[in-house]
Assembly symmetry: C2
Homo-oligomer: 205 residues x 2
């Protein structure tokens, strides 16, 4: 199995290679310190002691490197969300924690890793693979918890599952999507609770 998560379409050359890891490490460092725009490919090359041309043996563009770093950020968020959900067995509580953890993890990125956040925001604007994958994974998590709640009898079963999932995703989107989050900052304090309440009321059997 090819692990597409760490070797996306936009990569090239040997998949498993020490230099690839070095590039990613240097890019993470530079992007998060100086930002994506201010980091040149030559900077990365210098940092790992190779020529710029060599970097292009591993990534087909600077953006491809950015995608990788962005994907790592988003996977980090996914992991935090999954962890928060794993803390309980009750579907309703899982849903609450999912919403809360996702918002908090995104906010953490925004406030503590602004430069990386900016990459994620561009990624969302331009619909990079990493963001599409992230959205897919979150939707999957959501669908799973809905299914679980239906099985346990916590959630109603009349409404088609995919409709419910879609609607709830739309409710969460302004706080999950890096691009939208920055325009919802005034609400991040209360929104997860209020919206979780609303969603759970809508799910009651």
């Amino acid at each position: 199995m090819k692990k597409t998560s760490t070797y996306p379409v936009s990569a090239r050359g040997p998949a498993d290679h020490e230099v690839r890891d070095q590039i990613v490490a240097a890019a993470t460092e530079h992007f998060s310190r100086y930002g994506y725009e201010k980091t040149t490919v030559s900077d990365l090359a210098k940092a790992i002691g190779f020529s710029k041309a060599y970097i292009y043996k591993f990534f087909e563009s600077k953006q491809a490197i950015g995608e990788m770093i962005c994907a790592n950020c988003l996977r980090q968020i996914e992991a935090e969300v999954s962890a928060a959900m794993a803390e309980t067995d009750l579907a309703p509580e899982k849903l609450r924690r999912m919403f809360k953890a996702a918002t908090e993890a995104s906010l953490k990125l925004f406030f503590q890793d602004r430069k990386l956040y900016e990459i994620a925001a561009s990624a969302a604007t331009e619909n990079w693979q990493a963001v599409v994958a992230y959205e897919g994974h979150i939707q999957k998590l959501l669908q799973d918890v809905l299914q679980e709640g239906r099985q346990s009898g916590d959630f109603e079963r009349k409404t088609p599952l995919d409709e419910t999932a879609k609607a709830i995703y739309l409710v969460m989107r302004p706080y999950l999507n890096p691009l939208l989050l920055q325009y919802s900052l005034d609400y991040t304090e209360e929104a997860p609770m209020h919206l979780s309440n609303l969603v759970l009321r809508s799910l009651s059997p």
Copy 2:
């Protein structure tokens, strides 16, 4: 009573004056045709046959003129939403129509009056009075229909009204707020229906 809606804080000089109306008319024309940035205050002056200095007897800045035009747009949306809601007496249906009409009116602005939409988006970014007022009015409409539905027995009465109103507003926001709408275009087709359904389920007694 001062009608603050047509004479906001950022205006100056005689409130009711033919020239003020001429300025607004010329600005509406120019802003919607050439855009806010590309229109100079001198252009407006030329259009109404006065000097630029005279315009500043009526508005304290170019932005103040923009606010007025923007406020008109938003009031137009409000009017369309109110009209749509008046078509029915049933609170749940009112809520559906509110969501649908608001989304459609905002989309109309986006696609058919792009230049004016851009003003509204800036207004939302910079929190102009016009947008704050618009949000307030929409929230009032929402609160009223909720109250009405509670009285008629269509909606549950346990949850505090302002919490419900706030949560539902947050659900609608991505499609009402001009700044957010442009990032939700992929969803405007289905979102009003799916989200109305979700909200109504959450309101069921």
